[in-house]
């Protein structure tokens, strides 16, 4: 038995003449899906696996299939003769492109055996010369396989050797996905030993006593078993390079530390191995310290560096550590290119597959989900940018030494004791926007112009079809406010199940039954105001807004509609309303209570006519006028006609039509008034959606209503919303709510909204509807038309389907709050915007708009 181990992600090329046993070997050692065979490709493109005329097309397919598999980081085995050097060169190229290790397994079998086997196989009765020629060209190339780029070569010289080979798959060196840390990732040390020990102490590591002027490794460990993970560049420029090495090596040896290779470490090893290197960039300092150490120690350092990996792919792929960062397509892969990138960052002068210059700032374009933590480029502050963080805060240049606690995502740092070296470029000066905010000034169309898949924290991944995304993008780009303000779009709300009989289409009983039937009995019921939905982002002042939202428009807040458009045409008016609410936040003490300097409120803004003027003019008022005009002309004709059989009944009908139309007009009138001054508006907030560090969906609605009640007292333009908490097990409670609903809707109120007090609740089949509206009889006239409640009409209207609306309400709710959580957690704006865009995209789904 010969055992060889290969990485579990590799491009394995089987090389051998026809009949040398490659296919049987492949089937024995690999999954059927891992094998890409030229014969199979030939069969796919020609229905005949021996059709040589199809060879070119078959190899196109083979190359393509292999490329796709490699791109997806899947083991790929090429079963073709591959005896020609140029065929192999293509495959090596492919492996390099996708950073897979090329492995060659050579079947150097006597051509006579091959021929014999071919004779016994159908459709393989070609002459003996074929296998012989294959064997000949194989032998010509076999010695140069390493040079061709194969990192592992195994040659089998007889069928017995082929049978005896055993393949063991091992994870790539860089694949440490089973290691979950927790980690303390430490930036470039550069010989700043004192700061390092201080930092380790701060992080909770205990360092064993050690002697100065010794070559012994210094050991340290964390009481809770955390791992200190160094991003490389242990030495150079700083004052105590040897001690830094002793400590890092000691921790790695102990198992309490790990390290990836940095460019300085790489160069140091060159020197250690006796190669000629220029001793620049502080290497001279390290060299002069190491020259005094023993050969054994230097060998130990050299071995240590030799074993350092380019990067580490950790914690189920959620974390990547590399000295200079790493693009997503390189995570957990291995190639010279990966190693170079990890040590030096993006190399210049390169072009990508489109022939366009590759950007140096790979982090700007990074869209992966894994956190990438790196060092290499000294920065003033360690900041997140698109899930990447550079934690080299230039300690050796007088900055600080920083560690990132992961998965906690907290940074810990200690200041440099002095400036040990002068940086070529001063550490980035303080700027008013964070790196992420600076980057987020621009979102990218091509990030969204596709079918979107959005993972939410509500145990579901939502899909948005491409055409809906595109429609939403068009609307966003033409009408929406600055995306930096637009952190949330509200979900649509479910209408209650239809009343089965009686004069009402909607009735509180059905809403209460809906919740009770799902075991939800603790409800908060709120008045529903008839205005327009408004989202209010209010900051303490323009500076606070700029700091948190990264906006540069000098506003202290914005008010926008449920589709993300500015609520007020006039920015002065908007600013005045924002200022008043800000003042109310202050005087009600809510800024302090919420420990925040910004807040997002969900509200209804009245009157309806303020925003819906156009709709009123084009649609509602003409309908009322037409219905009244039609009915009155009819009544007039009937009354003139006098006694005609059957006309009496019609007269009653015409009268009802007239009064229904009139009633609809009155209902509309109740929702309209002039808004010449700010004081004419009424704003009724009903959710405190979010504030610094918090999405308040974990607070009961009683908290929202009580807190907002305090706010409303502070300014008359804020309207309180009537609300009650009810227990559905209590029959009297139910009755009270029905009475309230009758009274409220009977005097012009739109209706009531029923919400599980807990805000978010899960049932057996997904989320419990977070809110359900029960609208009044008169209000529904505006929605279903003046005569909707005539008996013959209402019976048919009861047949309305609610399923889509329920599903939409649930999906939009999840997306909206996912986006808010992302914002509050400080995720890149592109991730927040994705959710808002998705809500808008869902709104383009056809759903009965009357629900």
């Amino acid at each position: 038995m010969t055992k060889i181990s290969i990485p579990d992600f590799a491009l394995v090329v089987l090389i051998g003449a026809t009949g040398s046993g490659k296919s049987s070997f492949a089937r024995k050692h690999f999954l059927e899906t891992e094998i890409v065979s030229s014969d199979a490709c030939r069969a796919i493109v020609s229905d005949d696996e021996t059709d040589l005329a199809a060879t070119a097309d078959a190899f196109d397919l083979l190359d393509y299939t292999a490329a796709v598999r490699l791109k997806r980081r899947l083991m790929t085995v090429i079963d073709a003769t591959s005896v020609k050097r140029e065929d192999r060169a293509k495959l090596v190229q492919l492996a390099r492109k996708y950073h897979a290790l090329p492995v060659a397994l050579v079947f150097d079998i006597d051509p006579r055996i091959c021929h014999e086997r071919n004779q016994n196989r159908p459709n393989r009765d070609f002459g003996e010369h074929v296998a012989r020629n294959h064997a000949k060209s194989l032998r010509r190339g076999v010695r140069g396989l390493q040079k061709e780029g194969f990192r592992q070569v195994q040659i089998m010289k007889s069928p017995e050797e082929v049978d005896a080979l055993e393949i063991i798959r091992e994870p790539l060196w860089t694949d440490n996905r089973t290691d979950h840390g927790p980690f303390d990732i430490i930036g470039d040390v550069h010989g700043c030993f004192d700061e390092l020990t201080e930092l380790l102490g701060k992080l909770g590591y205990v360092i064993d006593p050690f002697e100065v002027d010794s070559e012994d490794l210094i050991r340290a460990r964390h009481s809770e078993g955390r791992t200190a993970f160094f991003v490389g560049d242990i030495t150079d420029r700083g004052p105590r390079n040897l001690d830094a090495l002793r400590l890092v090596m000691g921790m790695c040896d102990e198992g309490s530390g790990r390290c990836v290779i940095g460019n300085h470490d790489f160069k140091l090893n060159k020197w250690l191995k006796g190669r000629n290197v220029t001793q620049a960039h502080g290497l001279d300092l390290t060299v002069s310290e190491l020259e005094k150490t023993s050969e054994t120690f230097r060998k130990r350092v050299s071995d240590f560096i030799w074993d350092l990996r380019s990067h580490a792919w950790l914690a189920d792929g959620k974390l990547v550590i590399a000295h200079a960062g790493l693009k997503e397509e390189m995570h957990g892969r291995g190639s010279g290119h990966v190693r170079n990138f990890a040590m030096f960052g993006e190399t210049t002068g390169e072009v990508d597959e489109f022939g366009l210059p590759v950007r140096l700032e790979w982090a700007r374009d990074y869209r992966g989900k894994a956190d990438v933590v790196f060092g290499h480029t000294p920065m003033a502050e360690a900041e997140w940018l698109n899930h990447t963080m550079c934690i080299d805060t230039g300690c050796v240049f007088g900055g600080k030494l920083t560690a990132l606690r992961w998965p906690e995502r907290e940074t810990v740092s200690v200041p440099a004791k002095t400036q040990y070296a002068i940086p070529a470029k001063p550490l980035d000066a303080d700027q008013s926007l964070s790196a992420q905010q600076d980057h987020d000034r621009l979102l990218y169309f091509d990030d969204y112009a596709t079918k979107m898949r959005i993972e939410t924290r509500f145990k579901s991944t939502l899909q948005i079809p491409e055409e809906n995304s595109l429609a939403a993008l068009e609307v966003m780009s033409r009408f929406a406010i600055d995306p930096r303000w637009l952190i949330y779009l509200p979900p649509t709300m479910a209408a209650c199940p239809t009343a089965p009989e009686g004069p009402f289409l909607e009735h509180p009983d059905q809403a209460m039954d809906h919740f009770a039937g799902r075991g939800v009995t603790d409800l908060v019921v709120e008045e529903k105001h008839m205005g327009s939905r408004a989202l209010l982002v209010i900051a303490k002042d323009a500076d606070a807004a700029k700091a948190r939202f990264g906006v540069e428009d000098g506003k202290a807040g914005v008010i926008y509609t449920r589709t993300g458009r500015p609520f007020f045409k006039d920015e002065v008016e908007e600013a005045a309303v924002v200022a008043r609410i800000g003042k109310a936040m202050l005087s009600s003490g809510l800024w302090e209570e919420l420990e925040t300097d910004w807040v997002l409120l969900d509200a209804e803004l009245m009157p309806w006519s303020a925003k819906a003027q156009d709709l009123l003019k084009r649609q509602y008022l003409p309908t009322v006028t037409a219905a009244m005009s039609s009915a009155s002309a009819w009544l007039e004709a009937i009354s003139k006609a006098g006694e005609i059989d059957g006309l009496d009944a019609l007269s009653g009908r015409a009268e009802t039509q007239f009064s229904n139309a009139e009633l609809m007009g009155q209902t509309i009138d109740g929702y309209c008034w002039a808004t010449d001054r700010i004081e004419d508006y009424r704003i009724a907030p009903f959710h405190i959606l979010a504030s610094e560090g918090n999405v308040h969906a974990d607070r009961p609605h009683t908290w929202h209503m009580e807190t907002l009640g305090k706010l409303a007292e502070a300014d008359p333009i804020l309207q309180t919303t009537g609300w009650k908490r009810i227990d559905l097990n209590n029959a009297a409670n139910r009755e009270t709510v029905v009475d309230w609903w009758m009274k409220h809707t009977g005097s012009g109120g739109e209706g009531l909204v029923f919400k599980p007090n807990a805000f978010i609740l899960r049932g057996d089949k997904g989320l419990i509807q977070p809110a359900m509206k029960v609208r009044g009889r008169d209000y529904l006239r505006i929605i279903y038309g003046p005569d909707y409640d005539l008996p013959e009409n209402i019976e048919r209207l009861r047949q309305r389907g609610l399923g889509r609306k329920f599903s939409l309400a649930e999906r939009e709710f999840k997306l909206g709050f996912e986006g808010l959580h992302r914002f509050v957690e400080g995720l890149p704006l592109s991730k927040v915007h994705e959710c808002a865009l998705a809500v808008l995209a869902l709104e383009s789904e056809p759903v009965d708009p009357r629900l």
Partner: protein, 465 residues
């Protein structure tokens, strides 16, 4: 909704007004009811004297049935919402008339054929009408046919009118006029319009439509603006050559084009931009806000341009551009050279890298002022074409346009229009911050104090070779 037909008989008449019952085949003493596909029709006579008899045809449209299962006819989702359709005179009324008065419309009367063949003094009331247009439209439609318009004398904001006409005509002609013209007034048809509709239109329009001065408008609206049908119908009316453009309900740019038309300003703008590109040896162009492809069609003729990409935010606009530029017939070479992209000027776009020039002809004024900074970032900081050519209206010139109200902008979608000083100061800052130089050129006839109607800025990257 209802239609009222009144026959009057002067004292010396040789007929009585109540003969209307014979003409309509509906006995004046009874109420007549029938179900039609459009709704329930009721016909009765509120007035029946010797000198004046009125028949009312009331149509009660089922508002619930109207919405159900009719989405394919709907005007988007709004049609599912409350609307005036069940209450106003429309194609529903025509359908009902066709059913209730088929004989009369054919000019037949069992008992009074002589009267049916004669022009008689009628008064007509159609109520309510949701008028799609102004009072002038009513006049243009009815006066050429010999009607006098009694009401309305003016039209309120909601455009719901009580239409009363009088005319001395054959009843059959009146019914046919109404059959065709009521939906034209309303400019809506509740059913799908196919080629069959042409036959209906020509049958009901026989003898009057081909002579009607507004026959194009009538045909267009009656055929629901389907141009191919309209052209076929006009051809069958043996009329003028078919039309290419829709004069009404035209593309949104209309008001602006109309204003600037006498100056041939848009052509001038496009020619100037092409000339600038030519002089700067540009070989690839990104036309941002390409619209229907007017600039692109000029660019395509410039053989030195190896790559022309048009970007617009609207799928529908791009589809039009695709058609107008004939990209559907393009060969591979053309397809490689010219392409269209859905995109947005307020987002960055990685596909915009590597162009010699970007053009924004009358585009920036369609972007909210507070979103211009995103455009600047994406174009000047991110995409960084070698040069950028930008045109925008000069607001100062607006007072010189006839018919542009004071302080109004040239187009309803313009979010702003800049004076020369405003444009130049903005452009200078943009250029300075992003390493470009910029120069300005007036476009169109220059007024001494107000400048030219349009203005152009040409940005060039300073380190570009």
């Amino acid at each position: 909704m209802q239609i009222e037909i009144t026959l009057t008989a002067p004292d010396d008449a040789d007929y009585v007004a109540s003969d209307l019952g014979f003409l309509l085949h509906k006995h004046p003493d009874h109420m007549h009811r029938r179900e039609t596909s459009a709704g329930e029709v009721t016909i009765f006579y509120p007035e029946k004297s010797q000198d004046r008899t009125t028949a009312v045809m009331h149509l009660d449209v089922d508002p619930v049935g109207l919405v159900r299962g009719k989405t394919q006819h709907s005007d988007g989702l709004l049609a599912q919402y409350v609307n005036d359709r069940p209450y106003v005179a429309s194609s529903f009324l025509s359908v009902a008339m066709g059913r209730a008065f088929a004989q009369s419309m054919a000019g037949k009367s069992k008992d009074r054929q002589a009267l049916a063949d004669r022009a008689l003094p009628f008064e007509i009331r159609v109520v309510p009408v949701a008028l799609s247009g102004d009072l002038d439209l009513v006049k243009r439609l009815f006066e050429p046919l010999g009607y006098t318009i009694l009401t309305p004398s003016e039209i309120g904001e909601e455009q719901v009118v009580d239409l009363r006409l009088s005319a001395t005509l054959r009843l059959a002609d009146i019914l046919k006029h109404l059959y065709v013209l009521v939906p034209v007034l309303d400019n809506f048809k509740h059913y799908y319009v196919s080629e069959e509709e042409i036959d209906k239109l020509l049958a009901k329009g026989e003898g009057w439509l081909s002579e009607h001065p507004e026959k194009e408008l009538i045909t267009r609206r009656a055929l629901k603006h389907r141009r191919s049908l309209m052209n076929m119908a006009l051809a069958r009316l043996e009329e003028t050559s078919p039309q290419d453009e829709e004069p009404e309900d035209a593309p949104k740019l209309k008001p602006e084009e109309q204003l600037e038309k006498p100056l041939r300003l848009h052509a001038l703008r496009l020619d100037t931009v092409v000339e600038v590109l030519r002089q700067n040896n540009v070989t690839s162009v990104l036309d941002l806000g390409c619209g229907e492809g007017k600039l692109m069609s000029r660019l395509i003729k410039e053989r030195v341009l190896a790559r022309i990409v048009g970007v617009d935010a609207s799928v529908r606009t791009l589809e039009t551009a695709h058609r107008k530029l004939r990209l559907h017939q393009a060969g591979d070479a053309m397809a490689e050279r010219v392409s269209l992209q859905l995109g947005s000027l307020t987002y960055g776009d990685r596909r915009w890298q590597g162009f010699d020039a970007a053009t924004l002809v009358e585009v920036i004024e369609h972007i909210e002022p507070h979103r211009l900074s995103a455009l600047v970032l994406s174009l000047f900081a991110d995409a960084r074409p070698r040069m950028v050519v930008m045109t925008t209206p000069n607001r100062e010139y607006n007072v010189l346009f006839d018919g542009l109200k004071d302080g109004k902008l040239r187009h309803p979608d313009h979010r702003f229009e800049w004076t020369r000083a405003e444009f130049e100061s903005w452009a200078n800052i943009v250029a300075e911050e992003h390493g470009y130089s910029v120069s300005f050129t007036p476009l169109g006839p220059v007024d001494d104090t107000r400048g030219a109607p349009s203005q152009m800025a040409v940005f060039k990257q300073e380190d570009a070779v």
